[in-house]
């Protein structure tokens, strides 16, 4: 299973699309690793500096409809090769969310009030999260503050994360 712990990057905007996560001009790459330098290159967001903010980030916290637009799985891959295996937000585009779990990664949905609370409590200070996958609990800590937030994903999504993705699962079940 992948690692869902580490340093948090806050992206305070709705509708961050897959062209912003990984621009189409890099879709000619045929390895995941080659996408590494280009993550979030076209993201327009006040206070976000693509040169500095991605290094050693492991978790993204964001708002509504993250990953809308193109179906490119290059978006989760660009995150994955930068050691980001989990996004926490208010909602996701369908294909992006499915791609994340298909790769054994997580796109976790929390209520808007809770996401608001995470932004107001931690945004601006160095924050880390540790994830208890089995019990569904995030433990956030940063700027001298701590918060425990419960989360849930469906049993099906859980089995994809545990299986390490959809290909092996499907080829065993639907041969």
């Amino acid at each position: 299973m992948k690692d869902f712990n580490g340093k948090v990057l806050f992206l305070d905007r709705n509708d961050i699309n897959t062209d912003e996560i990984i621009p189409a001009r890099y879709l000619t790459e045929i390895t995941k690793e080659a996408l590494k330098p280009f993550l979030l290159e076209d993201l327009k967001l006040d206070g976000f500096d693509v040169e500095k903010d991605i290094d050693d980030t492991n978790v993204i916290i964001t708002r509504e409809n993250f990953g809308c637009g193109s179906s490119r799985e290059h978006a989760p891959w660009a995150l994955e090769v930068n050691n980001i295996n989990i996004v926490i937000g208010e909602s996701y585009a369908r294909i992006f969310r499915q791609n994340m779990f298909n790769c054994g990664m997580m796109a976790v949905t929390l209520e808007k009030e809770i996401v608001d609370k995470l932004f107001s409590t931690f945004s601006g200070s160095a924050t880390t999260v540790s994830t208890d996958f089995q019990n569904g609990i995030f433990s956030f800590s940063g700027g001298g503050k701590q918060l425990e937030i419960p989360f849930s994903i469906s049993s099906y999504d859980k089995s994809l994360v545990e299986a390490g993705g959809w290909v092996d699962y499907a080829d065993t079940h639907y041969k």
Binding site: E20, P23, T28, D42, N65, E73, R94, Y156, V167, A170
Partner: protein, 427 residues
């Protein structure tokens, strides 16, 4: 309780329910292109699973960057070619026969009412115009589709968009769908199928229905769907005449997929298009829509007519009506990319290509190219493009470039004046 089109299709294709809300469905077709498929192919090879579930149900094309523009795109194309040969995929379209997937595959008769289709491309929703369930997926889902002919989806809910009224002169399917997206918002239909119904749909051609369904994803929709009817049958007749004794028989068979009268929708919105005027987008999201007139002080550097949204023959006809006898503004680069070789051929025959060339347009081969900022018309930073494509995301057609989405007629009018222009004075 009645059922929607999507519910009927899911029931007829259900293979397994690994959990309450997840349906694994059998696929009637898996479409492939050279941007998202090569990584799936390489992964299958790495796993020792270089096989396909049914070579007759896989349709593949090299369309995004063709002919290849550099070593990397040449490599992607080569992986596709070798794989198609190794797996005996007969419906594989390469140089000379290739065109934009969502225009090419319907033209070849690969889509039928009641079908389930996936492709590693978000605009796969286009094919719902035939009353099919067609959804964009990522590379992993595509890989499993190729290998096992199945895909997992949440139980679909359907959002109904009922279109009434009559389109005014200069208002096209593109204006209607941009207007609908501005009402729904970019995630207004997430996890929903958008079913387009009402008298407006009945009056639209298959090409126009495809333009509508093509942009369902821009409101977050899994698929756009139009109920199959006589127009569907007439379009498909050359491909299905061996399967049915008459068009009446075909129609009788196809309408069984239509939503029942008492079907349950997650939401219904009614949109009267009578007062709609030609529109365009501003900003970087497809739900940011204004009238073309309100945007008339926006100067454009490039006009692009093509793509899976508006690169079909009807689109070229409408644009050529505007361009006939006119010249492209000296400050504008006009680019026409007919979506498929058959569109190109028809446009040549009808004298449309000549009208575009006389006006000063450059005509490229059928390809996605500039639509996603890959080739054949990439924008420089700060440049503005009036485009018939479907995405105005930041950097979509080139880093730092700005895209305004509009109908082919509005794009053509904008090419003449050099500013975003309401096309009505030219038609």
């Amino acid at each position: 309780m009645g059922k929607t089109i999507a519910q009927k299709i899911f029931e007829a294709h259900l293979v397994d329910k690994p959990s309450d809300e997840i349906n694994v469905i059998k696929l009637d077709a898996v479409f492939c292109h050279e941007i998202t498929t090569p990584i799936a192919i390489n992964d299958l090879k790495k796993r020792g699973k270089n096989r396909v579930f049914d070579s007759s149900k896989i349709k593949a094309v090299i369309d995004h960057v063709t002919p290849s523009k550099d070593s990397k795109t040449a490599e992607q194309a080569k992986i596709m070619r070798d794989w198609a040969r190794e797996n005996d995929i007969k419906d594989f379209f390469d140089i000379g026969e290739n065109g934009v997937c969502h225009a090419l595959f319907p033209e070849k008769g690969f889509v039928r009412p009641g079908y389930t289709i996936i492709m590693g491309d978000s605009h796969t929703c286009t094919h719902g115009a035939f009353g099919a369930f067609a959804a964009g997926v990522g590379t992993t889902d595509l890989e499993v589709g190729i290998l096992n002919g199945v895909c997992a989806f949440k139980t679909p809910e359907t959002l109904k968009v009922e279109l009434t009224g009559t389109a005014a002169k200069g208002v096209y399917a593109k204006d209607i769908i941009l207007h609908v997206i501005s009402i729904l918002g970019v995630n207004g239909a997430t996890d929903n199928v958008i079913e387009f119904t009402g008298p407006v749909i009945e009056s639209l051609s298959m090409e126009e229905r495809m333009t509508l369904c093509n942009m369902a994803i821009e409101a977050g929709g899994t698929c756009g769907i139009c109920p199959p009817d006589q127009v569907t049958v007439d379009y498909l007749w050359p491909f299905i005449s061996g399967d049915f004794s008459s068009k009446e028989e075909a129609l009788k068979d196809y309408v069984k997929w239509a939503s029942d009268k008492d079907a349950v929708f997650s939401k219904t919105i009614a949109v009267d298009i009578t007062d709609l005027t030609p529109v365009t987008t501003y900003g970087f999201k497809p739900d940011q829509v204004k009238t073309a007139t309100a945007m008339s002080d926006t100067k454009v550097d490039q006009v692009y007519i093509g793509s899976c949204t508006n690169g079909r023959i009807e689109d070229l006809r409408e644009a050529s009506k505007v361009l006939k006898g006119q010249k492209v503004s000296p400050s504008v680069r006009g680019i026409l990319a007919p979506a498929t070789p058959d569109v190109y051929r028809a446009a040549l025959k009808e004298g449309i290509i000549e009208i575009f060339m006389d006006a000063g347009f450059c005509v490229t081969n059928p390809t996605c190219g500039a639509c996603l900022g890959m080739s054949n018309g990439v924008l420089a930073g700060g440049e503005v493009c009036a485009s018939t494509t479907n995405r105005n995301f930041n950097g979509r057609m080139g880093k730092g470039g700005v895209v305004h989405l509009m109908s082919p007629a509005t794009a053509a009018a904008s090419a003449i004046t050099g500013y975003i222009t309401d096309p009505r004075k030219y038609i």
